[in-house]
């Protein structure tokens, strides 16, 4: 089969699964009105599938900071920090991240995806082992591939399975990088961090925790699961992204290991890409302050999350195991998931559709994500629509 024929075959498989004329993936959004509302086609819709957990995308402080940075430093850096120079605002954000986590140092990356690529491939190499949760994000899998290390998966959130694999490695557990996530992006459940830290210490391994979905969501000051569980010192490297609760784009890593800085010289996803635009860095700095002081935003976020989780659970939807801002409806077939997704959109609610193989265990998901910017009335309305669809789709 030629290269182009292969793409045609993939396109045919997708068309067979999805009805004609329905833009399920890459749905065009014509106008954005606020953190929670936009227009798709000629319909005003409620966003229930962003990762805008704190609703900061239109925070006046962030908008102002971004405008000022564009005027002061221009629209882009036009190059890598290692080759083309390192702006003071990028360095300041790194210090602010390190202070926020009470860590020795921090590095900023161009995306969250690249943060994982850079850290995993910078830490592990040929002959080493990466031991990852089976439900890890694609950036973790891709970072592992880039590293050239041996990749071993453990069953999702199953620490005894993880330990069994460390034991089998014998002495090699000392050159093993374990990777877990604070909140898993698809099912919304949290890693059993205390157990993971205990086992990684027992086997002298290194632990990297991706707080992509837990930054701003968990912990007193919003650091994530490590803060929530009081285990920041037990985690060797924390990565995360600006693209969710911080409402911009970019990634970071913080650590108390002095070796972190060395990654700037060896990690390809850090070196061979342009650094974030000044406006992105500026809005992120403003958002990080709001996030740290965002106790009220977190309270609202959790109230909304619990409200929606309880309602959907009560209606009989099969949900991920733990309430939180990521609420996954688990459906038995892609067809059912598609009906639910389309039904919601017809009622002006836009969520994420996740089909196999992207969905864990080969299921199909309709993934909702809740924001502190949603009102209780909006969440009630969403619940009413789910109730109506339950009757029409499942009975």
């Amino acid at each position: 089969m030629s290269l182009l024929d292969k793409l045609d075959a993939v396109a045919a498989a997708r068309k067979a699964l999805l009805p004609e004329g329905l833009e399920v993936f890459g749905t065009p959004i014509e106008e954005v009105y606020s953190a929670t509302e936009a227009r798709i086609g000629d319909r005003r819709i409620l966003f229930l599938g962003t990762n805008n957990y704190l609703g900061l995308t239109f925070a006046p402080e962030c908008l102002r900071a971004a405008h000022e940075a564009i005027d002061r430093e221009g629209t882009g850096t036009t190059g890598s920090r290692m080759a083309n120079g390192s702006y003071s605002s990028h360095r300041a954000l790194e210090r602010e991240f390190a202070e926020f986590y009470h860590c020795q140092s921090g590095i900023v990356f161009t995306t969250g995806y690249q943060a994982n690529l850079a850290m995993i491939s910078g830490l592990a190499g040929a002959g080493d082992v990466v031991l990852i949760d089976g439900d890890s994000h694609a950036s973790v899998y891709d970072g592992c591939r880039l590293s050239g290390a041996e990749i071993i998966r453990f069953r999702h959130n199953d620490v005894s399975d993880m330990e069994k694999r460390l034991k089998r490695l014998g002495e090699r557990s000392k050159s093993t990088l374990i990777v877990a996530e604070g909140i898993y992006s698809m099912l919304g459940d949290q890693a059993p961090l205390a157990e993971i830290v205990r086992v990684k210490n027992a086997y002298n391994s290194i632990l990297l925790l991706d707080e992509a979905h837990s930054l701003g969501v968990l912990g007193k000051t919003g650091q994530g699961l490590a803060e929530e569980t009081g285990l920041t010192d037990g985690v060797d490297f924390i990565t995360g992204t600006f693209s969710k609760s911080l409402g911009s784009i970019g990634g970071y890593c913080v650590s108390n290991h002095p070796q972190l800085d060395q990654l700037r010289y060896i990690s390809r996803p850090y070196i061979f890409t342009a650094s974030p635009s000044p406006s992105t860095i500026a809005s992120t700095r403003a958002a990080l302050k709001l996030l740290r002081d965002g106790t009220e935003l977190r309270r609202q976020l959790w109230q909304n999350s619990r409200q929606l989780y309880a309602r959907l659970d009560g209606l009989g939807y099969q949900l991920g195991p733990q309430p939180g801002p990521v609420i996954a409806n688990i459906l038995d077939s892609p067809q059912q998931a598609l009906l639910l997704w389309k039904g919601l959109l017809d009622h002006g609610i836009y969520v994420n559709l996740i089909l196999p193989p992207a969905a864990p265990e080969g299921k199909a998901l309709v993934r909702c994500s809740v924001s502190a910017a949603h009102t209780s009335e909006q969440i009630d309305h969403v619940g009413d629509v789910f109730a109506e669809l339950r009757k029409s789709i499942f009975q």
Binding site: I152, R165, P356, E361
Partner: protein
């Protein structure tokens, strides 16, 4: 190689039978993805069962090259012998 390998092969066929339709005949040359229509998620779950049964870890790197039932059985055999 024979007894251990044959034991691995028969256990593997047993697991594969559970995942495929009843009328499919599984032989060492059977192609996992194309003939048994086992997708990557199912294959990874199957491998986890086998890992438990034989007390081994199979890396994703090694799995990437596997196409047939024989190749998978052979991989498990090799990992198992290295651990002895």
């Amino acid at each position: 190689m024979s007894t251990d390998y044959n034991n691995i092969l028969s256990r593997l066929c047993f697991h594969l039978k559970q995942l495929s339709s009843p009328d499919v005949v599984i032989v060492p040359e059977t192609d996992l993805i194309n003939e048994l229509a086992i997708d990557s998620v199912k294959l990874l779950n199957l491998v986890m069962e086998i890992e438990d049964e034989f007390d081994i870890s199979v890396s994703l790197n090694a799995l990437a090259d596997i196409q047939t039932v024989h190749e998978l059985a052979n991989l498990i055999y090799k990992i198992k012998s290295q651990n002895k």
